[in-house]
């Protein structure tokens, strides 16, 4: 340990409740920090606003993903059934009028592609999987998935200052303030 050089990740402070976290977040937002985050065992309503975050853009991804699904299904069905190898099936047309029969699969592929877009879009947006993270080095941080409410401000933030930030956290009700260091 002693030989390892450590880089500072940032400060981690615990708050006693969701309300405290909410209020703390508002303060930090107002203080102009950018690279920081609130950690809670469950999603807290309204925290996005308190943190000054924008609405997720995931729906847009999914919309286009879904459209791709629709188009794929239509292209697959239409090309194989009408263009490449039209077959005579129960006196049904082998032309554009046959597309009602493609609707179920178009629908299903829309959903399927959307679903995959949700999954992979989400992972991309929240940058997971990321199995190693400096915060995991913090002992108290394990309570973030149980009953702990935390705010971590990263040292990368331009407003970050080893002392002032710590004070700020303490002033807004943060306790057990800890300097989290990254293993190099």
């Amino acid at each position: 340990m002693s030989t390892t050089r450590k880089r500072v990740y940032g400060y981690l402070a615990e708050f006693k409740s969701a309300s405290a976290l909410y209020k703390g977040a508002e303060k930090i937002r107002d203080a102009g920090f950018k690279k920081w985050d609130c950690y809670s065992p469950y999603p807290i309503h309204g925290l996005d606003g308190a943190m000054g975050m924008k609405r997720s853009i995931l729906p847009w991804f999914v919309f286009f993903g879904g459209m791709t699904g629709t188009a794929t299904a239509f292209a697959l069905a239409y090309s194989t059934q009408v263009v490449i190898y039209p077959t005579i099936v129960q006196a049904k047309p082998a032309n554009i009028f046959t597309i009602p029969a493609f609707f179920p699969i178009m629908f299903e592929l829309t959903i399927l592609f959307s679903g995959f877009t949700v999954l992979f879009g989400l992972l991309a947006l929240i940058q997971l999987p990321r199995l190693n993270h400096p915060l995991f080095a913090s002992k108290q941080f394990s309570r973030a998935t149980d009953d702990g409410f935390f705010i971590a401000i990263e040292a990368r933030d331009s407003k970050f200052s080893p002392t002032e930030t710590r004070e700020l956290l303490a002033s807004i009700g943060g306790s057990s303030i800890e300097l989290v260091e990254e293993e190099d």
Binding site: Y85, P129, L131, N132, P134, F136, K139, F141, E183
Partner: protein, 232 residues
């Protein structure tokens, strides 16, 4: 709590995903290329009990296909010649060639090892059991032997020249004009559509494509692509 995963593990899922993705794509591509009749059967060239040369018999001697494959235009199956067909000539021609030993064994009653059993030729072209391909339906309607069997007249040893996959069959059934010939030219391995047109200016056809289309119309060739055409 300490980190249980080392830092390098952060990029690992991505790396794994990329590698697995490209491996899967590679396998799919390789499969798509190699596991098709085109790569599996084209070029199959087994050695035959008698090294019969189509090149000599067709190209040099100018024999017609139907001399040996005598039922090709009346039957679904193109027959392989009987022993007596070979023996007809070869009891006189090249009689003592050691290559003909199996024929002697089969046909020559005076041959020491004569057993009268037929020659077992190794099958080159094989349609699956459930495919009923009819030779006579094709050769009588302007599809040449060459279209499916390749330049047999140039083959010392016969090999499979085309994939004979269902997709390959359908290609021609959908656009037969690419392969149609005048009936007189079906067995002509040196047929060349352009030469044919040059020799027959009275037809007033300019391009080989037009020739195909004209033949298709003239012969009322409307190949079917539904199942029962080949499977029953």
């Amino acid at each position: 709590m300490a980190n249980i995963f080392p830092r390098w593990s952060n990029l690992l899922p991505l790396k794994i995903a990329v590698c697995a993705g490209s491996a899967a794509a590679g396998v799919a591509l390789a499969f798509a290329y190699y596991a098709t009749p085109k790569s599996l059967v084209v070029g199959y060239q087994p050695s035959q009990p008698i090294p019969f040369s189509h090149k000599i018999h067709v190209d040099q001697l100018g024999m017609d296909c139907r001399y040996c494959h005598s039922f090709v235009d009346v039957a679904g199956h193109s027959n392989v010649p009987t022993g007596s067909t070979c023996w007809n000539c070869h009891q006189h021609v090249q009689r003592n060639s050691p290559k003909l030993a199996p024929l002697h064994k089969s046909m020559d009653v005076n041959y020491p090892g004569y057993d009268g059993k037929p020659i077992e030729w190794v099958r080159v072209h094989k349609a699956p059991d459930y495919v009923y391909f009819n030779h006579s339906a094709h050769v009588n309607r302007g599809i040449s032997c060459q279209s499916c069997h390749g330049d047999v007249n140039k083959m010392e040893v016969v090999y499979q020249a085309e994939s004979h996959s269902m997709g390959w069959c359908l290609e021609c059934h959908r656009a037969p004009e690419k392969n149609l010939r005048p009936l007189e030219e079906v067995y002509n391995f040196n047929y060349n559509a352009e030469t044919y047109l040059a020799n027959n200016p009275q037809l007033g056809i300019k391009t080989t494509e037009d020739l195909g289309l004209k033949l298709k119309e003239q012969f009322m060739v409307k190949p079917k692509v539904t199942c029962a055409t080949c499977h029953h």
